[in-house]
């Protein structure tokens, strides 16, 4: 693929990943990822002056976690992502690409609090950035790493869903 095609494929994969996650199509999301995919949600805390990891795991870890969801009690209020890809850098020699995107995650209340009153209300849930790495091959691009660096540290009820 040319550099331009690769950059377009990277953007396409990032947006597709958002749509799949929005639809909670977790397996489809993971199909965009290579076998050695690594996912993490991180944040910096000015309270404890430390970088933190809030969640991390391999593709298999993510798949196991998602398959367990039906056994868990979760807030089913859907999360929807608004994402803008800011930069894509292709390293043709190494066969890799990196991208930085801004992401806002909105939560629309369903069963989280008192549904009669709150259901239907949308709020910003998390603000952050995606730092993605891709493997580039003849077949296209695959995620090999996503670090979601979030600014939000007041996470209230939290969630069982990846961002």
């Amino acid at each position: 693929m040319s550099g331009v095609d690769t950059a377009n494929a990277v953007r396409d994969s990032i947006y597709r990943a958002c749509l799949y996650k929005d639809d909670m199509a977790w397996e489809k999301w993971l199909e965009l990822c290579d076998d050695d995919y690594y996912y993490a949600i991180t944040a910096y805390s000015p309270e404890i002056s430390n970088d933190m990891t809030y969640l991390s795991g391999s593709r298999e870890d993510m798949s196991t976690m998602m398959n367990m969801l039906p056994k868990h009690n979760s807030d089913h209020s859907p999360l929807k992502r608004h994402c803008s890809v800011y930069t894509v850098d292709v390293d043709e020699k190494a066969g890799t690409a990196t991208a930085v995107s801004s992401v806002l995650v909105y939560q629309t209340q369903l069963d989280g609090i008192n549904c009669h009153v709150d259901a239907g209300e949308s709020k910003v849930f998390i603000v952050g950035k995606y730092h993605d790495k891709f493997r580039v091959s003849g077949d296209g691009v695959k995620f090999i790493e996503r670090i979601v660096k979030i600014d939000t540290r007041r996470l209230d009820k939290g969630t069982h869903y990846p961002i």
Binding site: S49, S56, N73, S74, D75, N114, R153, D156
Partner: protein
């Protein structure tokens, strides 16, 4: 067809002893909340942060207790001190950041000082006022710096490096006395070597703080957590003891958790805290709203700041050993996050449940009785932990938890309903 229960039946006294249920008003009434701030939160020892958050001389942290802003400093002598974060001049909040260092000067002031940005009064790490701008011109000899130091608070570093403060100058006990033995089960594990905070996040939840404390005090809600049911339920688990200590504290004895039963979870054996048997799990709940929870490899601490009768801020911390190498630390973090992180399995479920309790009660709601009358030989699904808490609460508030308009009666637990 007969109805399930009408108003009279719903609000009637339950067929349980008066210490086996509470009136939901204690979770929703503004007057009771205000009284709790005065009678409990301004009087007790409250842990506010951990010393690893301010390791160097001139480091600081800010916090609040009972709506009073507080700044904690570490002096040149490395001593940790606490002050009201309030300027004696015109009452501005002196330090606005959550943490940092006074080693560098601020726009209005000099290095190594706390400076109020408003009119540039400056204070040293011991809270003494060391500079009043244009002092002589404005105050002549009517006001001396010695007269306008900061309000210092009682402060101790205790139990694995946690920093405790009390707004009560007259508190006649140390934190060790206050703990009354409740911390002893974890003291060897936490005091062996320095700890470090690796996780912080907060939640503001629309429920009363006591509902969160109750949830931390009772394990009957294992039914909420698939993780607990699959990794925990066995004879040793059901034999875990719930023990009460003076001052309203409790702890829950340990047993061995079978983490392998939950797909994707890992044994914590190799990196258990010092002196802790492999995969063991202790829990300490201190009056009025603190929780220490050691699941083998990582320590969790919840600190609560009540914001109103129906609102609480909970700060969640995770701690490991300061000496951890990168790999060990990563394992501790993974273990912590899998259950207790904001994206973990259990914490989200716990927070959903108390949110539901909060949503279902309000100050003018038809009275609810909140039951905690299970007796199972003071083992894990006994609700004696909550009963122990409310006995202490009643004493401090001079209110009967089951009927808060009535004064507290000592030994109300002896009064069994027929």
């Amino acid at each position: 067809m007969a109805r399930s229960r009408n108003h009279e039946q719903w609000t009637a006294k339950p067929s349980l002893a008066s210490d086996e249920y509470v009136d939901s008003r204690i979770y929703s009434d503004q007057e009771i909340f205000d009284e709790e701030q005065e009678k409990i939160f301004k009087k007790a020892w409250i842990p506010v942060c951990h010393e690893s958050e301010m390791p160097k001389a001139y480091d600081f942290r800010t916090t609040t207790v009972a709506a009073e802003p507080i700044v904690i400093t570490r002096g040149k002598d490395m001593k940790v001190r606490a002050f009201l974060n309030v300027c004696p001049h015109r009452g501005n909040m002196i330090e606005r950041r959550p943490s940092g260092s006074f080693l560098e000067g601020t726009p209005s002031g000099n290095p190594k000082h706390m400076t109020c940005m408003f009119h540039a009064w400056q204070f040293d790490m011991k809270g003494r006022c060391v500079y009043i701008s244009r002092q002589e011109e404005g105050y002549q000899d009517r006001l001396q710096k010695q007269q306008v130091g900061l309000r210092e608070l009682k402060c101790e570093v205790y139990f694995g490096g946690f920093i405790w403060v009390s707004l009560n100058d007259d508190i006649d006990m140390t934190v060790a006395d206050w703990a009354a033995g409740s911390l002893e089960c974890l003291q060897p594990s936490l005091d062996e070597e320095p700890l470090e905070v690796f996780h912080y996040h907060k939640a503001i939840i629309p429920c009363n703080y006591k509902l969160w404390h109750d949830t931390n005090c009772e394990f009957y809600h294992d039914y909420l957590h698939y993780h607990n049911r699959i990794t925990g339920f066995n004879d040793a688990y059901f034999a875990r003891k719930n023990m009460g200590f003076d001052n309203g504290h409790i702890n829950v004895g340990s047993f061995e958790v079978n983490y392998d039963n939950y797909e994707g979870a890992h044994s914590r054996e190799t990196i258990s805290f010092p002196h802790l048997p492999a995969n063991h799990w202790y829990m300490i709940d201190m009056f009025p709203g603190v929780n220490f929870n050691l699941r083998g490899s990582s320590l969790r601490c919840d600190m609560m700041t009540p914001l109103g009768p129906d609102s609480v801020m909970i700060e969640f911390r995770g701690l490991g050993l300061k000496s951890d190498d990168a790999k060990t630390r990563k394992s501790r973090i993974d273990h912590h996050n899998s259950i207790w992180g904001p994206f973990g399995r259990n914490l989200h479920e716990d927070l959903l449940a108390v949110t539901g309790q909060g949503a279902a009660m309000n100050a003018s709601a038809e009275k609810r009785q909140i039951l905690h009358g299970r007796h199972e030989n003071e083992t894990i699904h006994d609700e004696n932990g909550m009963r122990h808490f409310y006995e202490e609460w009643g004493r401090w508030m001079d209110r009967l938890p089951s009927n808060p308009d009535k004064p507290f009666k000592e030994n109300s637990s002896a009064v069994r309903a027929v």
